[in-house]
Subunit: 98 residues, 2 copies
Protein backbone atom coordinates (compact mmCIF):
# COMPACT_ATOMS: atom_id res chain seq x y z
CA UNK A 1 0.00 0.00 0.00
CA UNK A 2 2.98 2.21 0.57
CA UNK A 3 3.92 1.13 -2.89
CA UNK A 4 0.72 2.33 -4.52
CA UNK A 5 1.23 5.71 -2.87
CA UNK A 6 4.68 6.22 -4.33
CA UNK A 7 3.57 4.90 -7.67
CA UNK A 8 0.71 7.37 -7.65
CA UNK A 9 3.12 10.17 -6.84
CA UNK A 10 5.31 9.23 -9.79
CA UNK A 11 3.23 11.07 -12.36
CA UNK A 12 3.58 14.84 -12.58
CA UNK A 13 -0.09 15.39 -13.41
CA UNK A 14 -1.09 13.53 -10.28
CA UNK A 15 1.23 15.55 -8.09
CA UNK A 16 -0.25 18.65 -9.62
CA UNK A 17 -3.75 17.45 -8.86
CA UNK A 18 -2.70 17.08 -5.25
CA UNK A 19 -1.22 20.56 -5.35
CA UNK A 20 -4.52 21.96 -6.55
CA UNK A 21 -6.44 19.96 -4.00
CA UNK A 22 -4.14 21.28 -1.32
CA UNK A 23 -5.93 24.61 -1.46
CA UNK A 24 -9.29 22.97 -0.92
CA UNK A 25 -11.75 20.39 -2.24
CA UNK A 26 -12.57 20.49 -5.92
CA UNK A 27 -15.05 19.00 -8.33
CA UNK A 28 -13.76 16.45 -10.83
CA UNK A 29 -14.73 18.53 -13.81
CA UNK A 30 -13.22 21.60 -12.26
CA UNK A 31 -9.94 19.74 -11.93
CA UNK A 32 -10.11 18.28 -15.41
CA UNK A 33 -10.55 21.74 -16.84
CA UNK A 34 -7.11 22.73 -15.55
CA UNK A 35 -5.29 20.15 -17.64
CA UNK A 36 -4.73 19.53 -21.32
CA UNK A 37 -5.44 15.82 -21.12
CA UNK A 38 -8.83 14.41 -21.95
CA UNK A 39 -11.46 13.95 -19.29
CA UNK A 40 -11.20 10.19 -19.18
CA UNK A 41 -7.46 10.51 -18.71
CA UNK A 42 -7.96 12.85 -15.78
CA UNK A 43 -10.56 10.54 -14.43
CA UNK A 44 -8.04 7.74 -14.40
CA UNK A 45 -5.44 9.84 -12.66
CA UNK A 46 -8.03 10.54 -10.02
CA UNK A 47 -8.78 6.82 -9.78
CA UNK A 48 -5.09 6.07 -9.25
CA UNK A 49 -4.90 8.66 -6.50
CA UNK A 50 -8.05 7.35 -4.89
CA UNK A 51 -6.72 3.82 -5.11
CA UNK A 52 -3.64 4.90 -3.23
CA UNK A 53 -5.96 6.55 -0.73
CA UNK A 54 -4.31 9.88 -1.41
CA UNK A 55 -7.66 11.46 -2.15
CA UNK A 56 -11.27 10.78 -1.27
CA UNK A 57 -14.33 11.17 -3.47
CA UNK A 58 -17.73 12.38 -2.38
CA UNK A 59 -20.79 12.62 -4.57
CA UNK A 60 -22.52 15.96 -4.61
CA UNK A 61 -25.61 15.25 -6.62
CA UNK A 62 -24.55 15.38 -10.21
CA UNK A 63 -20.88 15.83 -9.59
CA UNK A 64 -18.05 14.44 -7.49
CA UNK A 65 -16.02 16.35 -4.97
CA UNK A 66 -12.44 15.33 -4.36
CA UNK A 67 -10.26 16.19 -1.41
CA UNK A 68 -6.73 15.33 -0.31
CA UNK A 69 -6.16 12.70 2.31
CA UNK A 70 -3.57 14.57 4.30
CA UNK A 71 -2.57 11.74 6.59
CA UNK A 72 -1.49 9.45 3.78
CA UNK A 73 0.60 12.25 2.34
CA UNK A 74 2.15 12.79 5.74
CA UNK A 75 2.94 9.11 6.01
CA UNK A 76 4.70 9.20 2.66
CA UNK A 77 6.73 12.24 3.67
CA UNK A 78 7.62 10.56 6.94
CA UNK A 79 8.67 7.45 5.09
CA UNK A 80 11.04 9.53 3.01
CA UNK A 81 12.49 11.20 6.04
CA UNK A 82 12.95 7.70 7.41
CA UNK A 83 15.36 7.04 4.56
CA UNK A 84 17.62 9.81 5.76
CA UNK A 85 20.59 9.15 7.97
CA UNK A 86 19.38 10.19 11.42
CA UNK A 87 16.41 8.68 13.21
CA UNK A 88 14.09 11.57 12.40
CA UNK A 89 12.04 9.34 10.21
CA UNK A 90 10.47 7.40 13.01
CA UNK A 91 9.15 10.52 14.67
CA UNK A 92 5.68 11.77 14.22
CA UNK A 93 5.58 14.98 12.25
CA UNK A 94 4.10 16.90 15.12
CA UNK A 95 6.81 15.77 17.48
CA UNK A 96 9.44 16.86 15.00
CA UNK A 97 8.02 20.38 15.01
CA UNK A 98 8.49 20.87 18.75
Amino acid sequence: MQNSVFKALAHPARRQILALLRKGPRLAGDLAAEFDSSWPTMSRHLAVLKDADLITAERQGNQILYRVNTSVLEDAATALLGLIGSDNGDDDLKEAAE
Copy 2:
Protein backbone atom coordinates in the same frame (compact mmCIF):
# COMPACT_ATOMS: atom_id res chain seq x y z
CA MET B 1 14.21 16.64 -12.15
CA GLN B 2 11.70 16.49 -9.38
CA ASN B 3 9.94 14.07 -11.62
CA SER B 4 12.86 11.69 -11.96
CA VAL B 5 13.14 11.62 -8.18
CA PHE B 6 9.55 10.55 -7.64
CA LYS B 7 9.76 8.10 -10.49
CA ALA B 8 12.85 6.60 -8.93
CA LEU B 9 11.05 6.31 -5.61
CA ALA B 10 8.18 4.47 -7.26
CA HIS B 11 9.90 1.10 -7.24
CA PRO B 12 10.01 -0.83 -3.96
CA ALA B 13 13.46 -2.28 -4.63
CA ARG B 14 14.85 1.20 -5.07
CA ARG B 15 13.32 2.45 -1.86
CA GLN B 16 14.83 -0.55 -0.13
CA ILE B 17 18.22 0.25 -1.60
CA LEU B 18 17.92 3.70 -0.10
CA ALA B 19 16.91 2.16 3.20
CA LEU B 20 20.06 0.04 3.20
CA LEU B 21 22.18 2.98 2.18
CA ARG B 22 20.70 4.98 5.00
CA LYS B 23 22.83 3.03 7.47
CA GLY B 24 25.98 3.87 5.56
CA PRO B 25 27.76 3.61 2.20
CA ARG B 26 27.78 0.25 0.48
CA LEU B 27 29.49 -1.46 -2.42
CA ALA B 28 27.37 -2.25 -5.46
CA GLY B 29 27.97 -5.97 -5.18
CA ASP B 30 27.24 -5.88 -1.51
CA LEU B 31 23.88 -4.29 -2.27
CA ALA B 32 23.11 -6.63 -5.13
CA ALA B 33 23.69 -9.60 -2.83
CA GLU B 34 20.76 -8.51 -0.68
CA PHE B 35 18.22 -8.88 -3.46
CA ASP B 36 16.80 -11.70 -5.50
CA SER B 37 17.06 -9.89 -8.82
CA SER B 38 19.99 -10.37 -11.11
CA TRP B 39 23.04 -8.18 -10.89
CA PRO B 40 22.31 -6.26 -14.08
CA THR B 41 18.84 -5.53 -12.80
CA MET B 42 20.23 -4.17 -9.58
CA SER B 43 22.76 -2.22 -11.55
CA ARG B 44 19.95 -0.56 -13.43
CA HIS B 45 18.09 0.31 -10.28
CA LEU B 46 21.24 1.96 -9.05
CA ALA B 47 21.54 3.82 -12.34
CA VAL B 48 17.99 5.12 -11.99
CA LEU B 49 18.70 6.31 -8.47
CA LYS B 50 21.93 7.93 -9.57
CA ASP B 51 20.14 9.57 -12.46
CA ALA B 52 17.68 11.10 -10.04
CA ASP B 53 20.66 12.21 -7.99
CA LEU B 54 19.35 10.24 -5.03
CA ILE B 55 22.66 8.43 -4.68
CA THR B 56 26.24 9.06 -5.65
CA ALA B 57 28.81 6.59 -6.91
CA GLU B 58 32.50 6.56 -6.10
CA ARG B 59 35.04 4.17 -7.52
CA GLN B 60 37.14 2.35 -5.01
CA GLY B 61 39.62 0.55 -7.19
CA ASN B 62 37.87 -2.51 -8.43
CA GLN B 63 34.50 -1.74 -6.99
CA ILE B 64 32.00 1.07 -6.64
CA LEU B 65 30.80 2.62 -3.44
CA TYR B 66 27.32 4.08 -3.29
CA ARG B 67 25.93 6.50 -0.78
CA VAL B 68 22.64 8.33 -0.28
CA ASN B 69 22.29 11.92 -1.32
CA THR B 70 20.44 13.11 1.73
CA SER B 71 19.59 16.57 0.49
CA VAL B 72 17.65 15.33 -2.53
CA LEU B 73 15.69 13.03 -0.30
CA GLU B 74 14.95 15.93 2.00
CA ASP B 75 13.78 17.98 -0.94
CA ALA B 76 11.39 15.24 -1.95
CA ALA B 77 10.02 14.96 1.56
CA THR B 78 9.62 18.72 1.71
CA ALA B 79 7.81 18.68 -1.61
CA LEU B 80 5.36 16.18 -0.21
CA LEU B 81 4.79 18.24 2.89
CA GLY B 82 4.19 21.11 0.52
CA LEU B 83 1.18 19.25 -0.81
CA ILE B 84 -0.42 19.30 2.59
CA GLY B 85 -2.92 21.94 3.62
CA SER B 86 -0.87 24.33 5.75
CA ASP B 87 2.16 26.24 4.56
CA ASN B 88 4.67 23.94 6.23
CA GLY B 89 5.88 22.79 2.89
CA ASP B 90 7.75 25.95 2.08
CA ASP B 91 9.85 25.73 5.21
CA ASP B 92 13.29 24.33 5.27
CA LEU B 93 13.46 21.13 7.27
CA LYS B 94 15.89 22.61 9.75
CA GLU B 95 13.69 25.61 10.33
CA ALA B 96 10.75 23.32 10.94
CA ALA B 97 12.67 21.57 13.70
CA GLU B 98 13.30 24.72 15.70
